[in-house]
């Protein structure tokens, strides 16, 4: 390994450890690391903003930006509050029924919204409902996070690792629908069944408190039905635009940006108010991350690791898929799964290029995506949605400890990864 490669790797490892341990703000970490790489000449300065593989992947950045604007406007319509309260009322305070209803709403929303937003929408309603029923909210919040990470795996836009993988591998929205959605639906069904033994001891039923939930007025959540209809129509068009990628040849990022613009027009909202909904630190984090990974690519670190991986795999591509699935599930659980995916994507690209046919190459990408997505459930810090949920719970006096979450997360990650492994084998290698 050359001196520049060693320097790039050293900077990257230090930054990765700081991100994983959350000792320092992760945005600061990636910016300083990217700056250090630029100062030392470890990244191609003239290509940082213009190279898809050695610089910032703008498809990812603008897809995220567009979806943040779309979701930011839709959530103001009150539709999620309406649905969650409606579901809670249908459960009539029965714990398992309430849990499944809330999980179902979360899992249905998360393929179209990012997981953090989904949790920020569902968790407050859950706290209100549990407060009225005088039952602990922790099992419901944990189950929602787990459901959100599972549901988000279903589509290109549901989970940031999928956005990175889709852009790197050239996989379309429809590819994700065909290859990821079926197994995610099956796994989610299995997860709902698992929740009974998993949370049974925490369930409490207070029939005399049901009237308190029934007093909630979900219809008041939606004040402007015409606005809601317009926003849902735009969202449907955006999803249609993603689906017609092979016909229209318009990148998902462009579709999302056009959708965001249309959403601003139909909602007749102020641009400044909309831009407040954008999580700018997240976008900057992604940019810094891409520059860091670009440094590893430019200095040959990725090529070296990719070479080792190809040599190790030989012609055993099912072995490679298995290693990617389980390796990602374990590593992604201990580190944030977004930087993990961004780092591994170029290596997987090298592996997929060595596959005997495109189908096998894609099987590696799907194994990688399933492992990275489901790793988000592994520990309390594995995905941003987990951290956000724990924060909301703590602020509302319903503290969830790291281990309280993780002991459920490990079981669910094990179940989902094993099921995904069986799926990968049966669909691509049997």
């Amino acid at each position: 390994m050359t001196l520049s490669a060693t320097a790039a790797l050293a900077i990257f490892v230090v930054a990765f450890v700081l991100i994983a341990t959350e000792k320092v703000d992760k945005v600061k970490v990636v910016l300083i690391a990217a700056g250090a790489m630029a100062l030392l000449g470890l990244i191609p300065g003239d290509e940082v903003f213009f190279s898809e593989h050695e610089g910032i992947d703008w498809n990812v950045i603008f897809l995220l930006l567009g979806m943040m604007i779309i979701v930011g406007i839709i959530k103001q319509t009150g539709i999620f509050d309406y649905l969650a309260i409606w579901a809670a009322k249908r459960s009539r305070g029965r714990p398992y029924r309430l849990l499944v209803m809330l999980m179902a709403i979360t899992a249905i929303a998360s393929p179209f919204l990012d997981n953090v937003t989904t949790i920020m929408l569902v968790a407050p309603v859950t706290l209100v409902v549990c407060g009225r029923l005088q039952i602990p909210a922790q099992p419901y919040l944990i189950a929602e996070v787990l459901a959100s990470n599972i549901g988000g795996a279903a589509t290109l836009i549901g989970d940031p690792p999928n956005i990175i993988i889709g852009s790197r591998a050239g996989l379309s929205f429809n590819d994700f629908l065909v290859h990821m959605t079926p197994i995610v639906v099956i796994i989610f069904a299995a997860f709902t069944l698992l929740c009974w033994p998993l949370f049974r001891r925490s369930f409490r039923y207070n029939p005399d408190r049901v009237a308190e939930v029934m007093a909630l007025q979900e219809s008041r959540a939606i004040t402007d039905r015409a606005l809601l209809a317009r926003c849902l129509a735009v969202l449907a068009l955006v999803i249609l635009g993603f689906g017609l990628h092979s016909v229209l040849h318009v990148e998902p990022s462009i579709v999302a940006l056009l959708g965001a613009g249309a959403m601003i027009l139909v909602a007749r909202t102020e641009v400044n108010d909309v831009l407040k909904e954008v999580e700018w630190p997240t976008l900057v984090f992604f940019m810094g991350l891409f520059v860091m990974v670009g440094g590893l690519v430019h200095t040959g670190v990725i090529e070296t690791f990719g070479g080792w991986a190809v040599e190790t795999v030989g012609d055993n591509f099912f072995g490679a898929a298995t290693a990617l699935l389980f390796g990602s599930a374990v590593l992604g659980a201990f580190f944030d799964n977004i930087p993990y995916t961004a780092t591994m994507a170029p290596i997987v690209e090298g592996l997929a290029a060595e596959a005997p046919d495109p189908g096998t190459g894609r099987a590696l990408w799907w194994s990688f995506a399933l492992g990275a997505d489901f790793s988000g459930n592994g520990t309390a810090v594995a995905a941003s949605a987990n951290v956000v949920a724990l924060g909301i719970a703590a602020r509302n006096g319903q503290r969830i400890s790291f281990w309280e979450f993780t002991r459920y997360g490990i079981i669910v990650t094990l179940l989902t990864t094993l099921m995904a492994w069986g799926y990968v084998y049966l669909r691509y290698f049997a």
């Binding site: 319509t77 509050d81 309260i85 968790a123 407050p124 706290l127 007025q217």
Partner: protein
């Protein structure tokens, strides 16, 4: 005049006090804000009166107006009870409530500029060790300024 000349003694609350009690202290004492001190009487937070609702209203309702609309009238009157066992110390990390402090020898201009900059009607006065010695309220500051200013001639 200096801050020590116009500072007054105001009731304070401790970081371990329940939120509900701290709000009672403020309401009953008709204070323009809350001063939270640690065990060594060093100011840890100053919550302007206009901002106290940011503590009292659960975050869920502040961030999601649609959720606030779903709460029926009977429960809406009692929203602040949802804070349960939260103490004022649980909000110490909030950057919005960093204490606005001046030394005892600060001029009235310094006090006024700080109030303007931090949008707070309450500034705490501390000694060299950072221990609370008093507070300057907006009312007290304006009163002092009015008294020290020569009469404005009428047209």
């Amino acid at each position: 005049m200096q801050a020590r000349d116009i500072a007054i003694q105001v009731p304070t609350v401790a970081t371990g006090d329940p939120v509900a009690r701290t709000v009672q202290v403020m309401a009953l004492g008709r204070l323009p804000g809350l001063i939270v001190v640690d065990e060594r009487r060093r100011p840890r937070m100053v919550v302007p009166g206009t901002q106290v609702l940011r503590i009292l209203v659960p975050n869920s309702y502040q961030e999601d107006p649609a959720l606030a609309r779903t709460v029926d009238e009977a429960h809406a009157d009692l929203f602040w009870r949802e804070l349960g066992g939260l103490t004022i110390g649980d909000f110490l990390d909030s950057r919005d409530f960093r204490p606005a402090t001046v030394r005892e020898d600060a001029t009235l201009l310094e006090v006024a500029a700080l109030m303007a900059r931090r949008c707070t009607p309450l500034v705490v006065v501390v000694d060299r060790d950072g221990t609370l010695t008093g507070a300057v309220t907006l009312e007290r500051l304006l009163g002092s300024l009015a008294l020290s200013t020569p009469d404005v001639p009428e047209d």
